[in-house]
Amino acid sequence: MNAPTPLIEVERLDAWYGRRRVLHGVDFSVGAGEIRVIMGGSGSGKSTLLRHLLGLQRPGAGTVKLFGVDLARAGERELQEVRKRIGVSFQGGALLTSLTVGENVALPLREHTRLDESTIRIMSRLKLEVVDLGGFQDLMPSQLSGGMVKRAALARAIAMDPRLLFFDEPSAGLDPVVSAELDELILRLRDALRMTIVVVTHELESAFKIADTITVLDAGEVLMTGPAAAVRAAPNERIQDLLNRRPREVQVDADAYLRRLTEEEA
């Protein structure tokens, strides 16, 4: 049997913010049904990589393909087809505050499908049941706790039954019990709805609980991609620093540092 095409293929991706290169030759590939965790400390480039995967930023160099579609070269119609097949749960929830929870969850279905209203109603309420917010459809986002916002955002992200789900920092700001419940839910979503899931997190416990494979980013480079157990056992010093929460020794390039401080066009 031929290996199926990966759902995500990133090759030699570079990203720059001004003079700072924040991603450096990143190769990243995720197959169907996989749960991949992108792990790294602050400033490692994981959020930048996520923005490229979502097509929110254009590569400085290299390519990003989802479902075989090169995001930088695709036409609007092709991008639209890709967007219908992905779901994103943003770190802060990004719920529309003027809409009820139910309307937020139904929004992608109203935007992208022509399903009849009763189907949309049942589908969106089902998603609220799945994330344990059954019956809360008439609340406004401002009435929700932090954990409920995360779950409502997840319900909206899976409204269209996406084949590919991105989840940015699911545990950030949550108490350990709620965080563990979300981890469980991520695993069940993959198993029941056969989603491929990419989770960006700096929470180690959560990462090792849910990941099939982990990509460790550090200073814009991929240190390693491998099964969770292999990452845990990796001899690489930076990975072990990250796993053991040891502060890193910051390398200072004196010339580059001075240029950043003094040049007008930094």
Partner: protein, 112 residues
Amino acid sequence: MNFPLNTVAKEDREGYVLVRLSGEVDLSWSAEVRRAVLDALAIGRPVGVDLSAVSYIDSSGIAALVEGFQNARTHSGRFVLVAVSDAVRAVLELARLDRVFVLVASADAVVA
């Protein structure tokens, strides 16, 4: 590997109607499934939906079944899911709908 084609078929059986689904039930054709389920219920006899050959179902497919079940209940009719495949069961369990629908092992049990 052989994947069954996406099909929905209605069979008139003695005392009930059997709707057979196969393949992957998703957004692309779940409206057709919904129509078939509601049409079967309109006949006014018990309805079973055979899900043994369904290899994937998304929430739009589940929504069609929920609407059918609700429709049957408001008319005091019988609506059961027959020979639910593992793939379908996993989705029902995710939403705890396995505790809401009536699930039976074979079509013989459609008429209670």
